[in-house]
């Protein structure tokens, strides 16, 4: 199994009382699937995605991606893992405002130790995949929300990760732009067999996915394959 999650629990300590955010999640995801995590706010879907991406350590349970048990990795191992296997897309894009689009995309490769000319050519390539070949020298504040999100998708793609985790990728976009973005993600998923896990509260966006997981109160309510 590509992604294997077993009895995943996550508590946050608020004051003295632990709050159970994830209450025992079991899930398997195949390579090349495009999974939507759907649920109301507070359902734990974002926390689940963050645990999956190694940004938050689980309280207990097993999270295994390929042969890596990321629930047992330390922070440096997680960094290396993210660098090689994961790409992230955020609701608020998370681009570095002082860097041009191409620099933002190339930054992901900098830490992987890719040489500068190669970095720039790969960043350019990734930006042209998302249709921004003519915007590479623009800074984030010179781009529209949809364009910024495409830059962030390009950044997630640039190191050719097997898994891309997206947290509300269309959350800040209007419906037309949201459609464009989801179509682009679908296309990438089909063409490059990358696995996508997308957190959303937008049922429209979930329609693009091959599997929709409904979460509520820290557990999986139901899973629909479509």
């Amino acid at each position: 199994m590509f992604i294997h999650i077993e009895d995943l629990k996550k508590d946050f300590i608020l004051g003295k009382k632990p709050i159970h955010i994830l209450k025992g999640i079991n899930l398997d995801i195949e390579q090349g699937e495009m999974v939507a995590l759907l649920g109301p706010s507070g359902s734990g879907k974002s926390t689940f995605l963050n645990v999956l991406g190694g940004l938050v350590p689980p309280t207990s349970g097993l999270v295994k991606i390929k042969d890596f048990e990321i629930s047992k990795m330390n922070e440096n191992e997680l960094c290396l893992f993210r660098r090689e296997h994961l790409g992230f897309i955020f609701q608020s894009y998370n681009l570095i405002p002082t860097m041009k689009a191409i620099e933002n995309v190339a930054l992901a490769l900098t830490f992987a130790g890719v040489k500068k000319d190669k970095r720039l050519s790969r960043a350019k390539e990734a930006l042209s995949i998302v249709g921004l070949a003519d915007r590479i020298d623009h800074k984030p504040n010179e781009l529209s929300g949809g364009q910024q999100q495409r830059v962030s998708i390009a950044r997630a793609l640039v190191n050719s990760p097997e898994i891309i985790l997206a947290d509300e990728p269309t959350g800040n976009l209007d419906s037309k732009t949201s459609e464009d973005i989801m179509e682009m993600i679908t296309k990438l998923n089909r063409e490059s067999n990358q696995t996508f896990v997308i957190v959303t509260h937008d049922p429209e966006a979930a329609q693009y996915c091959t599997k929709v997981i409904h979460m509520k109160d820290g557990v999986i309510e139901r899973t629909i394959n479509q």
Binding site: N50, G53, L55, V56, E75, N76, C79, L80, R82, R83, E84, F88, F90, N94, L95, I96, T98, M99, L107, A108, T110, F111, A112, G113, K116, R155, N159
Partner: protein
């Protein structure tokens, strides 16, 4: 992430916040420049004073005297102590010559209150009697003319200052016209006149005609104010004047000059001669004690300059800490897209080290300019002479560069660790 990429990234990061980077660098520039300029003034003073002393070449000459302290004691404890006293005679000189590194040891016979007549003028001078056979080993140089040969016992060398300092004019002409240079006397014959009072209470004069063969290079010692003559001549004049024949073997010489191979053996030879119970005086001893005084002066001046660098250091810490708050989100993003804890830490340390190093580099350039300016202005104030008030040694430049980079690096450590330990998730959520 390799080091080169890291430095490049740090460099780019610095220029993304140009204004603050430049301000912080200016702080380091001022700090470094004030240290360098301060220390350079200390070095300048040292260079001009020590330089004046050591340039004159007498650093390899040691003056050896009979043990002066025990002479004082012998008077109190009577003749017994006198018998133990080591006499500075020819046997002792042979012992001195056997010390490793000693090239020559020759007694000096001095005679003061001698009148020198150049034909028109008279000067009161001292004679320094040396063994001419040892002259070549003694490293006395001449600025004009040459040293007399071993057999030219009636030839003399004039000290640099022999005419200027103790001169007086006997003729009616003004000072300017009677003032002649020692070099003008080369090849000429001069009279050395010694006087004594005989038993009848009458003044008697003895005149020796000698030939000037050269002018001695300045040594900084008593030679500059003396005429160097052969030991026999001076001894003859001395015996005639005092009426006493000195037995040097029994009474010893009052002074022996020891010439050593080079300045590196001065200290060891000095120690060995002192172990023989003689008193040694050398330029090296003065230079040593001056060296420690100037060392302290430089530390003091450097410390004053260091206050400015300390302020700059606080500036770096401030800039880097502010930078973390400002770039928290950026740090979070970098960690999410694959920067390791070490990458973030090294990146911040590299940034602050660069601030230190660049500031240090510019500080060096500026302090060189300031140093030139100080010397120029001081030169003009002293009437167009070239003076060294401020002297920047290569060592000082290297020290300043390393020190400023180190200060930058250390200033960055704490902010860098703080940045590296930020939780990536919290960081990207921050605004």
């Amino acid at each position: 992430m390799n080091k080169q990429e890291l430095l490049l990234l740090a460099w780019e990061n610095l220029w993304r916040m140009k204004f603050r980077t430049i301000l912080t660098i200016i702080g380091v520039v001022i700090g470094t420049a004030s240290i360098i300029v301060m220390v350079s003034i200390g070095s300048g003073a040292q260079k001009s004073i020590v330089g004046e002393l050591s340039n004159i070449g007498s650093i390899t000459t040691l003056q050896v005297y009979p043990d002066l302290s025990s002479m004082g004691v012998s008077g109190i404890s009577g003749g017994k102590k006198d018998a133990d006293k080591i006499i500075l005679n020819d046997d002792a000189i042979d012992d001195l010559k056997r010390i490793d590194g000693v090239m020559a040891a020759t007694p000096v016979i001095s005679l003061s209150d001698v009148t020198m007549e150049t034909g028109r003028d008279e000067y009161s001078v001292s004679l320094m009697g040396l063994d001419y056979k040892a002259l070549d080993d003694m490293r006395y140089g001449t600025t004009d003319g040459k040293k007399p040969n071993a057999n030219e016992e009636s030839s003399v060398i004039l000290g640099q200052e022999v005419l200027s300092t103790f001169s007086y004019s006997s003729g009616a002409a003004s000072v300017e016209t009677t003032e002649i240079l020692p070099a003008d006397l080369i090849g000429k014959r001069i009279n050395l006149v010694v006087s004594r009072t005989n038993e009848a209470g009458e003044e008697e004069y003895r005149t020796e005609k000698v030939k000037v063969t050269g002018v001695l290079e300045a040594t900084g010692g008593s030679e500059d104010y003396s005429i160097i003559a052969s030991d026999q001549l001076v001894n003859d004049l001395n015996e005639w004047k005092t009426g006493i024949k000195i037995n040097f073997d029994k009474n010893g010489y009052s002074e022996v000059l020891v010439t050593v191979e080079d300045s590196s053996v001065v200290t060891t030879v000095t120690a060995e001669i002192e172990a023989m119970d003689f008193t040694v005086f050398s330029m090296q001893q003065i230079l040593d004690s001056m060296g420690s005084v100037f060392g302290m002066l430089q530390i003091l001046l450097g410390g004053i300059g260091g206050v400015a660098l300390l302020v700059a250091c606080i500036g770096i810490v401030n800039t880097m800490t502010m930078s973390i708050y400002e770039r928290t989100r950026e740090i979070g993003i970098m960690k999410v897209i694959g920067a390791s804890i070490n990458d973030i830490r090294d990146m911040f340390i590299a940034e602050s080290t660069m601030i230190g190093f660049i500031g240090g580099g510019i500080g060096v350039i500026i302090s060189v300019l300031i140093s030139l300016l100080i010397n120029l202005i001081a030169g003009l104030a002293l009437g167009g002479e070239s003076v060294t008030i401020s002297y920047i040694t290569p060592g000082l430049v290297i020290f300043a560069l390393i020190f400023s980079a180190l200060v930058g690096m250390l200033s960055g450590v704490r902010p860098a660790i703080k940045a590296a330990n930020l939780s990536s998730l919290d960081a990207i959520r921050s605004e």
